[in-house]
Each structure stands twice: as C-alpha cells, then as structure tokens.
C-alpha cells in the first residue's frame, strides 16, 4: 500500500491503536422484546445486531429435523446502507451465504444442541454499519443474544481477527487494514477450554509467523471475552434486581 502507513515506526496503527489493542467494544443485551434473545454490539465502528428465536418447533419442512439434536439455523445480512458503497441486496449474495454457513458452524460447536432434539434455533444477525471484522462482531453479538435467550452453551464464543503487517501481528483489524490485502485470520474461540470453534485465514502468510498471529488472535479473543463477560454479568445483575423488587 503506497501512501498509507498501516503501522508507524513508533508502533501505532492508523486509528492510533497499539498492535495488540482491541477497538472499543460496547454491547447491550435484550434490545428487543419480541425476540427470545437479542443483543447489539459495537466493535469500533462496526455495529451488529443479533436476534435469537428458539428453541422452537421446526419451521417449514419437518424432514430437516435432526432426531438427536437441535438444528441451528442462521442468516447473516447486511443493511443496504451499512457499507461505503450502497449494497443492492441485504442477503442472499455469495458472501452473505458463506458468512451464514460460518456462523452456523460456529454456533453448532458452542450450543448444547443435544438438549433440544427435533427442534430449531434461529440466529439472525444484521450488520448495521461495516468497518472491518464483520464476522467477529456478528459472532460476539450472537453469543450475547444466545445467552439472553437462555440457551445453554458450552462456553462463550468470542471471535476476533488478526493480521500481519510489517512483521507485527495486529489484533482486531479495521476496514482500512482489511482492505490493504495482507494476511488475515479470523478466529472464533471457546476461551475457557481454549477450543477453536472456527478458524479461517486468507491471503498468504509464512508458516513461521502463523503461531505468532494465532497467539495475537487468541489473546484478542480472550480480551473480548472479558468485555462480554462483564456485559452479561451487568445484564443479569440488572434483570435480577428488577425481578427482586
């Protein structure tokens, strides 16, 4: 990238962060009343909304029902005004379908689906504003929504991206850093057990650096975990005091 310095000599990134620093994460659970669970999450300027319905009876054809566990059904969509250039369709394009599949795989790994055989859990996420790390924001928001819906999970799923620029691993890439086209890793982690729910990497990265980048990503995921955990605890506290009155 000519003309744009992604990492200054002093070790600052374009938005003034340090290499391993996250963007500001703010979140709220229970945004909507009609859904079973909902959450809103801001990761820097990326804003995501997640809604969970279920577990409920299978919708549509019953033949899709799994006899030993619940079916996790996801839909990823982006508001038409969320990106710099207006999108023509909110969902149904190739990229959204891929994201949908990734989300499904991630949450199948985290939700205790065997508790609800022959039923269905819907997770719908919506990107309201895109500024890099869409997948990660969606996973984090969906985790909160699933917790809000009271669906048992093995652990939180925390996701964060990491890149590698000028021999330095960078955590939580923003849109400018993503667009630069360097190597990029998206990691969804179950932080307590250190299990990977999903790992995706694109572009080219030397094998020797992989460990470093993974380290950065998993550290970032654990940082996200700390924030999410606080949000959940605050929310639960708030709800129980309301109930106590």
């Amino acid at each position: 990238m000519a003309g744009l310095e992604l990492l200054s000599d002093e070790g600052y990134r374009v938005d003034g962060r340090r290499a391993g620093e996250l963007r500001k994460v703010r979140a709220r659970m229970g945004v909507f009343a009609q859904a079973d669970g909902s959450a809103y999450l801001e990761q820097g300027n990326t804003k995501a909304l997640a809604v969970v319905y279920g577990p409920h009876e299978m919708r549509g054809s019953r033949s899709k029902a799994l006899h030993d566990r619940a079916l996790v059904n996801c839909q990823y969509s982006m508001a038409t005004f969320s990106t710099g250039e207006r999108k023509r369709r909110p969902h149904g394009d190739r990229k959204s379908s891929e994201m949908t599949l990734h989300l499904k795989q991630t949450f199948e790994a985290a939700i205790l689906t065997q508790l609800y055989p022959r039923s269905q859990i819907d997770i719908y996420v919506q990107i309201l504003q895109a500024d890099g790390g869409n997948y990660c924001a969606c996973v984090n928001a969906a985790t909160l929504a699933t917790i809000d819906a009271g669906i048992p999970m093995r652990d939180y799923v925390c996701a964060c991206s990491a890149g590698f620029i000028e021999d330095t691993p960078l955590a939580d890439l923003n849109y400018v850093e993503e667009a630069a086209g360097g190597p990029q890793v998206a990691l969804a982690l179950l932080p307590k057990s250190d299990q990977i729910a999903l790992l995706e990497m694109n572009s080219r990265l030397h094998e020797d650096h992989l460990e470093q980048v993974m380290e950065a990503a998993s550290k970032a995921c654990k940082d996200v975990y700390a924030v999410l955990d606080q949000v959940v605890r605050d929310h639960v506290h708030e709800v129980t005091t309301l109930l106590g009155e």
Partner: protein, 291 residues
C-alpha cells in the same frame, strides 16, 4: 407479519374497550404510543434515523449517490425506496419471506412521495440530462409491533431531515467537457426541505369506532383500516383502504377528519423533536441501540 392469535374473548375485550375510548394499554382512541426518534445513527449514510414506536422498531438510512436523471425528467433527481423486512423482526421473514410485505411498503412509499411538491427534486439535479443525486432511502424493519406504515413514514421523514448531501460544482473547460468537483468542506452541504413530506396515519376500524396507532392485538381485531398520508398543513396526498373488510361511507369521512387532526399534531411534535436534536448538534449524546 408477526401474527398474534387472539381468542374470541380477547377480541371482545379489546372491542369493548375501544367502544369506551379505553384501549388495552390505557390509551384513548386518538393517542399514539410513545415515539422515540433519533437521527444520525449510522455514520456511513448521508442521513439516518431510528424510530421506535412501542415494539415497532425501524431504522432508515439515506444514501446520496450520483446517477443520471430519468429521461422524462431531465432536470430532476429522484428517490429510490427499498424495504428490507429482516428476519430480526420475525423468523417468517427469513430468506425471501418478507418480500411480499416489503413490496407493499415500497409501493405505498412511492405513492405518498409521488406528488411533485413533497420533495424538491429539482434541487437534486447537478447538471441536466447528465448528473443528478439519487437518494436511496433504505428502510430496515427490525421489529414489528403494529402500525408499521406510520412508524416507517416518521422514520423516513426524520432521515430525510437529517440528510446532508455534499455540494458539488460543475466545472466546464474550453472544449466543453465537464468535470464535477466535490466540495472539500464536509459542512458545506445541501439540506432537504421536508416541510411537505407527509406522514402516514393509519386508522383501524375496531367495532364501530376507529383508533390510531393500533398494536398487533388491535390489528388482529380490525378487519379494515384506512391509510392516509397527511402533510403538516393537513392536506392528504394518499388514501388507501387496507385489509379484507369494508367500511361504511360515513365512517370514512369521520376517519378523514380524525386523520387530519391527528396528523397535524404528529407533524408538529415530530418537527419539534427534530429541531431540538438539530440544535444540540454535536454535543448530543448518541444513544443508538445502547440506551
């Protein structure tokens, strides 16, 4: 749409309540629920607004993009509407499930904006026949708790009020080729005059009375409703009967009177909120979805 199933007894309860001018949530027949309006919630857009009306939650983003004017109106820009009934609102909208409702809403929006005086589309023209601003008005339905049309029209009006279109200049060199120069100053922008943008007032007939701002339960009790789009001066730009029932001619005239009255009040209070938000400027604490 998210449907509620009401038993006969519940319906009778709602209808009798309306008869006594006392609705299930304590409102009178001409009262709106509390409306929350916030503008400038999505920074990627030229203008945006979020409106929460009871459990109905609407997010509208307006994006100004450059395009070519339509052949029949070479010196005007135009508005394009798009409605996304997202699965957030109800699982029935997953995939293509929401498209039918979305088309209905889009058609209604085009209809209420069809009259020339609504928005000054001539100001959106950059140079005739070649360049103009196209305003993409994208409506995102996040939750529906009754009275969608009114909430959407309020959100669209608020978002258009919030819209800032960058100023451009057309430079012409000696050979006649034109170049468009964008103003460097981000505060140098066109604002739209939304005084004539109407709001939709939907009046639902319940029993032999009518109510404004029906909740989902009340919508389930109503066979027919009248959709009116009312401007701030109390004139109508669109009227439409919705639902599978019929209306008495006399009740239509009553509904039109109510619509005019309620519409004027609604416009006045909406304008007040928008002006107040505007005056706070950048000092305003943005709440968004975190509040």
């Amino acid at each position: 749409m998210a449907s509620v199933v009401l038993s006969e007894a519940e319906k009778v309860y709602v209808v009798h309540g309306v008869q006594e001018d006392l609705r299930v949530d304590g409102r009178g027949c001409e009262d709106y629920r509390c409306i929350e309006v916030e503008t400038d919630v999505v920074s990627n857009t030229s203008g945006s607004a979020r409106v929460k009306l009871g459990h109905t939650d609407i997010l509208v983003g307006v994006k100004a993009e450059m395009g070519t004017p339509k052949l029949e109106n070479p010196n005007e820009g135009y508005l394009e509407f798009f409605v996304d009934c997202s699965a957030n609102a109800t699982p029935e909208f997953e995939g293509r499930g929401g498209e039918e409702l979305a088309t209905e809403i889009v058609n209604t929006l085009y209809r209420i904006f069809s009259s020339e005086s609504t928005i000054d589309v001539k100001s959106l023209c950059i140079n005739p026949r070649e360049h103009c601003w196209v305003l993409y008005v994208d409506v995102l339905l996040l939750e529906c708790g009754g009275n969608l049309f009114d909430a959407i029209s309020i959100a669209v009006k608020a978002a258009l009020f919030n819209t800032r279109i960058p100023k451009v200049r057309v430079l012409e060199d000696e050979e006649g080729s034109k170049e468009i120069e964008l103003s460097d100053d981000p505060y140098d922008c066109i604002r739209l005059n939304v005084d004539n943008v109407p709001c939709i007032i939907t009046l639902s007939k319940i029993g032999c009375r009518h109510v404004v701002d029906a909740t989902l339960q009340e919508e389930a009790c109503s066979l027919a409703s009248l959709l009116l789009s009312v401007t701030s001066r109390g004139t109508f730009t669109c009227m439409k009967k919705l639902g599978n029932g019929s209306l008495d001619p006399e009740s239509i005239f009553e509904m039109m009177e109510t619509g005019k009255r309620v519409g004027k009040t609604l416009h006045a209070s909406l304008q007040k909120i928008l002006d107040k938000e505007e005056s706070l400027g950048t000092t305003r604490q943005k709440v968004g979805f975190l509040g």
